[in-house]
Amino acid sequence: MKVDTMEAEKIIDSLNAKFPDTISDSQIESEKRISAYAEAGSIVEICRYLKDELQFDHLSSETAVDLILKDEIEVVYHLSSFGQPLVLKLKARLPRNNPEIESITSVYWDANWYEREAYELFGVQYRNHPNLRNLVLPDELLGDWPLRKDYEDFPQKTAKNLV
């Protein structure tokens, strides 16, 4: 059974009303996509509210993006629902030298592996994660944070073999 469509505007209003200080830049990107920034400190609270009250019962993906030019690491959550097709992109900004955020495994069970992956590839430290260790990388690569952008030649705009 499909749940009644929750409209994007209603969700944004409800989020803004409930978390006036911790949710910012919320906007409708397209028909089925909305996005918002969350304060890193209250991410669990916000996710809990989204899951229990606003029917976002499915964690589509969780990952990180290294924004080296802004000296930030963004943690990106894509929350969606089995009942309707709206996807909420929730982001939290973390300082690059100490990316630390609360784990949301207590809300979304399957965040476990996503967080382990973001940890080994970007070095995001998840507090209160049940088992924060490497998932796909071998032990000796841990600490290299391979998907971070601080490698030589960055930003190298064009593939060398083409131009």
């Binding site: 499909k2 089925k32 996509r33 019962d57 499915h58 964690l59 589509s60 993906s61 990952t63 993006v65 290294d66 990106v76 894509h78 089995f82 309707q84 097709p85 996807v87 992109k89 979304y108 069970w109 399957d110 476990n112 592996w113 996503y114 590839l121 490497n134 998932l135 796909v136 990388l137 071998p138 391979p146 998907l147 930003p155 705009k157 064009t158 593939a159 083409l162 131009v163």
Partner: protein
């Protein structure tokens, strides 16, 4: 998992190479007698670093790379990647190429399900059954080969269209293969339904309830076998799925048996979709006229932005999150494959089951380890 074992317990490492595994991963199982007490999945044996590779390739070069994420769902992977770029660059593929994409992607779904079906029966010891679907699968692969030029990794989709039109005689060959497949499915269905040993091994084994499946983030056939009608093709239609008539195949039992039947029903449904698409397909150009880039442009600068595009993979929800910084290469691509959460759900699913059933349960999830590892 706590690796300390008690006096009457035993730790068994299944894999990374095990006859009954669809790919290299290691399942550490703690047993008491023959009952699974606890388990733990180890991955990374075929970690390819595809997300990192994509960051150093131009957009066009990325297409063959995403093919390799899961070789059984190459076309749907491409659809997710190409769809992301199209959304970022504001390209709308022409109607004809959208229909062609639907056709090849459904063919790809059929061949993937046929392998899953055959491979699965092999895992539970029904060896004969493996070769029946594989014979017909070869016919489907022939169709894909004559269209895309490759059996497994196609590199067929392009930004705004497809590489080539459908070849001559495609429709006739399609009919031939589908007649064979329909007859085969009926026969195999009889074979499996009437086999008491097969039923003993699958009915009521590895049961997932709708709520636990949702909680664990499982998508695709394992979720639909519990009765949840979640299908991206219906919920968030891409391409021309909106104009096509098809139903979301569900079962209610949620056990191993139901998962296999969902796949079989989906094969029928995919054939139906392809037949409709062949009937409805308009003629016309493959690429839109106002394409902002040359069709083969090796260097295309995609506008800054980010997008999350989801498609329905044979195994569930495949989403890609792409960030562009305005250069000719993606700044970051996150591949959210359906197998990653499904594999994570394995340990709770096999808890308290018999060791002999572990293979049946794991096989019925049809995990493509290559994609989970990426």
């Amino acid at each position: 998992m706590d690796t300390n074992i008690g006096p009457d317990e035993m730790l068994i490492h299944m894999g990374p190479h095990h006859i009954a595994q669809p790919g290299p991963f290691r399942l550490n199982v703690k047993l008491k007698g023959e009952t699974v007490q606890d388990s733990d999945v180890e991955m990374g044996f075929i970690h390819k670093g595809i997300e990192k590779i994509l960051e150093s390739k131009t957009y066009l070069q990325g297409i063959p790379v995403v093919d390799r994420a899961c070789y059984l769902a190459a076309l749907t992977n491409e659809e997710a990647f190409v769809g992301c770029v199209e959304k970022l660059a504001g390209i709308e593929p022409t109607e004809r190429s959208q229909y062609i994409r639907v056709i090849v992607e459904e063919l790809s779904r059929i061949q993937s399900h046929l392998l899953g079906y055959g491979e699965y029966t092999e895992f539970i010891g029904f060896m004969t059954m493996f070769f029946y679907p594989m014979t017909v699968r070869e016919k489907i692969l022939d169709l894909l080969e004559m269209t895309t030029g490759a059996r497994i990794t196609h590199s067929y989709l392009r930004f705004g269209g497809v590489r080539d039109d459908l070849p001559e005689g495609f429709e006739a060959k399609c009919k031939e293969a589908f007649a064979l497949l329909r007859r085969g499915l009926e026969e195999w269905g009889e074979l499996m339904k009437s086999d008491t040993i097969y039923r003993e091994r699958t009915v009521g084994v590895g049961v997932l309830t709708p709520d636990t499946a949702k909680e664990m983030g499982v998508t695709g056939p394992p979720l639909r076998a519990t009765g949840v009608d979640f299908d991206i093709r219906k919920d968030e239609p891409y391409l021309v799925y909106d104009d096509l008539d098809f139903k979301v195949c569900t079962e209610t039992a949620g056990d191993v048996y139901a998962r296999i039947w969902v796949r079989v029903a989906e094969i029928y449904e995919s054939m139906y979709i392809i037949e409709q698409a062949l009937d409805q397909m308009p003629s016309g150009p493959l690429f839109p006229e106002n394409l902002p880039y040359d069709r083969r442009a090796p260097v295309m600068r995609v506008p800054e932005g980010e997008v999350f595009h989801r498609v329905e993979d044979p195994r569930g929800e495949m989403g890609m999150y792409m960030v562009s910084d305005g250069s000719d290469k993606p700044y970051r691509v996150k591949i959210r494959g359906p197998v990653f959460p499904t594999m994570q759900a394995m340990p709770p699913l096999i808890k308290d089951s018999q060791l002999a059933d572990v293979v049946a349960i794991v096989g019925s999830l049809d995990p493509c380890v290559s994609e989970a590892d990426r």
